[in-house]
């Protein structure tokens, strides 16, 4: 691995170090991406897949028991009407956001480094949204009338209330899931064609061929394709910002102290990107090592992601501070009580866990050595996601458990079924991700080829810079 890192070459056209290390040719990129799919199933894959499927089974049992018995099997009760269900929902939707940030927003900003990780991050988004959608679906209790959430004509002549943020949420999250799948699939088409053309067996040729839709790399197709991709990125960017804003309005539009806060939309979006990038780091550390992609997903990628985590983590910390300031500055005793209770009440342990994980721990990324240390990144990515789960728990439960009537105050304790649903959702997520890395190209092959120096048609007609391709930085220019 160290030898690959040493071979950072310089792009002869723009003079920057190449994003993909080891100067592979186009065919080598295809081979590197194809290896995880075409090799014999590695033992390590089963090591992740089997426990994930077991947890997925646990989810099935927990949800089946929930449908049979009702939401009384969970630990929530008045005044804590929402607890782990909505915590898990907001947590999973948030995870998804980094995938769209990488695939859409970084695309609009022409951040070419995204090409190594965008496919896996988009897949992560889709699976996270699947996990998220489970919870609002099952938490309503009477699941057989869950279709009432949608504006469907019915014999009762009833329609949903479009003035409610809960209904905005139905539209926002389901459309977000749909657009994420479309965006991911459009990006996949050329790569599926690659696997169709490489297929050794008829079954593979058929399976990849059907989904490749007869793609033949035509430039007349690429033209419309690139426009479609750009537009999807342009649509997904405001969409992703709107989704977590609307999720935050589930809380902010209510009258409850601790929820009724105008800072929620930007604060939730920053937190979503924060936790999502942490999940991307967790997954990519494992994948690049397991599938030997250190030259495609490089230390530089982790460096950039650590910087984004530092920025968003600090933004989240700022939001925590401003909430307290406004609680005091508003002069509203209920608001001030809610926040004092949050930091020093019965849930203080959860609050300070959140602060430690989300605000304190990412500060180590001010140091370059920390941003480039894979073990530390892996550890912190998990710590951050624990913290972000606690953030949603703190917001939801600590605001609810002491309401306006002190005689109703209570303390929420999860039951085994709360825990089963949370663990089960991780089972669903990792089962899907394991299947994804085994059967779908994990790296956007066509896009990675397009950022190699030799992909530029004017690459070889610049002989005056040819010397820089030999592995040395051009004199007088910095590393970047």
């Amino acid at each position: 691995m160290a030898s690959i890192q040493d071979k950072a070459l310089y792009d002869p056209v723009d003079g920057r170090p190449t994003l993909i290390l080891g100067a592979p040719d186009f065919h080598a990129v295809t081979e590197a991406v194809a290896r995880p799919i075409e090799q014999k199933t590695p033992a390590g894959w089963w090591f992740f897949f089997l426990p994930s499927v077991a947890l997925l089974g646990l989810l099935g049992v927990a949800v089946a028991w929930l449908f049979w018995e009702g939401i009384g099997i969970w630990g929530l009760n008045v005044p804590v009407g929402w607890a782990w269900d909505i915590t898990n929902f907001v947590f999973w939707v948030g995870i998804g956001h980094a995938g769209t940030l990488i695939s859409a927003i970084l695309f609009l900003f022409r951040q070419k480094w995204r090409t190594s990780i965008n496919r896996a991050a988009e897949a992560m988004t889709i699976f996270a949204v699947m996990c998220a959608l489970i919870f609002p679906g099952i938490h309503v209790g009477r699941v057989w009338v869950a279709y009432w959430m949608f504006p469907l004509p019915n014999q009762m002549g009833m329609w949903p209330n479009f003035r409610s943020p809960l209904l905005w949420d139905v539209f926002a999250v389901s459309i977000y899931g749909t657009v994420s799948v479309l965006f991911w699939y459009v990006g996949l088409i050329p790569d599926l064609a690659t696997f169709r053309d490489r297929a050794k067996t008829r079954l593979r040729r058929l399976a990849y061929g059907i989904f490749a839709m007869g793609w033949r790399g035509s430039n007349r197709h690429w033209q419309h394709y690139e426009v479609a991709y750009l537009i999807l990125a342009g649509l997904a960017t405001p969409l992703v910002l709107s989704v977590h804003s609307i999720v935050s309005m589930d809380f902010a539009v209510s009258q409850l102290p601790g929820w009724h806060t105008t800072i929620f939309p930007p604060y939730f979006v920053a937190g979503a990107i924060f936790s999502g990038f942490a999940m991307v780091v967790t997954l990519m550390v494992i994948c690049r090592h397991a599938f030997r992609m250190e030259h495609i997903i490089t230390i530089r990628h982790f460096d950039y992601m650590a910087k984004i985590m530092l920025v968003t983590g600090t933004m989240v910390g700022y939001a925590y501070a401003i909430e307290f300031f406004i609680a005091w500055y508003s002069g509203n005793p209920y608001e001030l009580f809610a926040f004092q209770n949050r930091a020093f009440g019965p849930y203080a342990w959860a609050y300070w866990t959140m602060i430690t994980c989300n605000v304190v721990s990412p500060q180590i990324f001010w140091f370059e050595r920390a941003r480039k240390s894979i073990p530390l990144l892996f550890l912190l990515s998990i710590v951050i996601n624990i913290g972000m789960w606690f953030e949603r728990f703190v917001i939801i439960v600590s605001s609810l458990h002491r309401d306006f009537l002190p005689s109703a105050w209570s303390y929420f304790r999860p039951t085994v079924w709360d825990v089963s649903c949370l663990l089960g959702s991780f089972g669903l997520f990792f089962t899907m991700f394991c299947l994804f890395v085994r059967f779908v190209p994990m790296v956007a092959t066509a896009e990675v080829k397009a950022i190699l120096p030799q992909a530029d048609p004017h690459h070889e007609v610049r002989p005056e810079r040819a010397g820089t391709a030999a592995g040395t930085a051009p004199a007088g220019e910095g590393a970047y």
Binding site: F162, F171, R216, L239
Partner: protein
């Protein structure tokens, strides 16, 4: 080319297919094929090659207009649905708000605009590209399998008014193609 329906030449031969080794060679070949006045031809690459649209003399894509129309349709439909529900279909006073409380309609209007726009972008792109199209004469060529890996191709159809079996083939060979072949249809 028509936006829908499969448009393939009749007769035994589809055209000539030339393989190039690098994007640069393909780029210069496309400029020359364009300047030679061919119209029914194409370039095939494993990834989008920067600037190739102009090297081929192609017009801009009309897709943005399709997306705009779809997006506006979705937003208008979303707003109309909410207005109809709360003013006509099921007028119900909820927390004292007016029936036509349009600011509350903004999120769903926006989301449906995005949904329709995204569907327009994907299905519009597929329609303009005449995809899915699982059969194409170029797939007869064994070398063409590398188009999704690391090879670059130019194909010129026999229907092109300037097509000439020997002259077109010689043009592509002179442009540095490493392999030229006729493809049956």
């Amino acid at each position: 080319m028509p936006p829908l329906g499969h448009d393939l030449p009749e007769g035994p031969t589809f055209g000539v297919l030339a393989e190039f080794a690098t994007p640069g060679e393909l780029f210069r070949a496309c400029e020359r094929v364009r300047d030679a006045g061919y119209t029914l031809w194409d370039a095939h690459t494993p990834f989008p090659v920067h600037g190739l649209d102009r090297a081929m003399g192609m017009k801009r894509s009309v897709l943005p207009w399709i997306v705009l129309a779809m997006g506006l349709t979705g937003a208008a439909a979303g707003f109309a649905l909410q207005t109809w529900v709360h003013s006509l279909g099921y007028p119900l006073v909820i927390s004292g708000k007016p029936f036509f409380s349009w600011p509350a309609y903004v999120p769903v209007t926006f989301e449906l605009g995005v949904l329709f726009g995204a569907l327009g972008a994907v299905f519009g792109m597929l329609a303009l590209n005449q995809l899915p199209m699982h059969y194409h004469p170029l797939f007869h060529s064994a070398r063409f399998e590398k188009v999704t890996d690391d090879s670059f191709f130019v194909s010129i159809e026999v229907r092109d008014p300037r097509f000439d079996a020997t002259a077109t083939r010689r043009l592509l060979e002179d442009l540095g193609a490493r392999h030229v072949e006729m493809v049956k249809s």
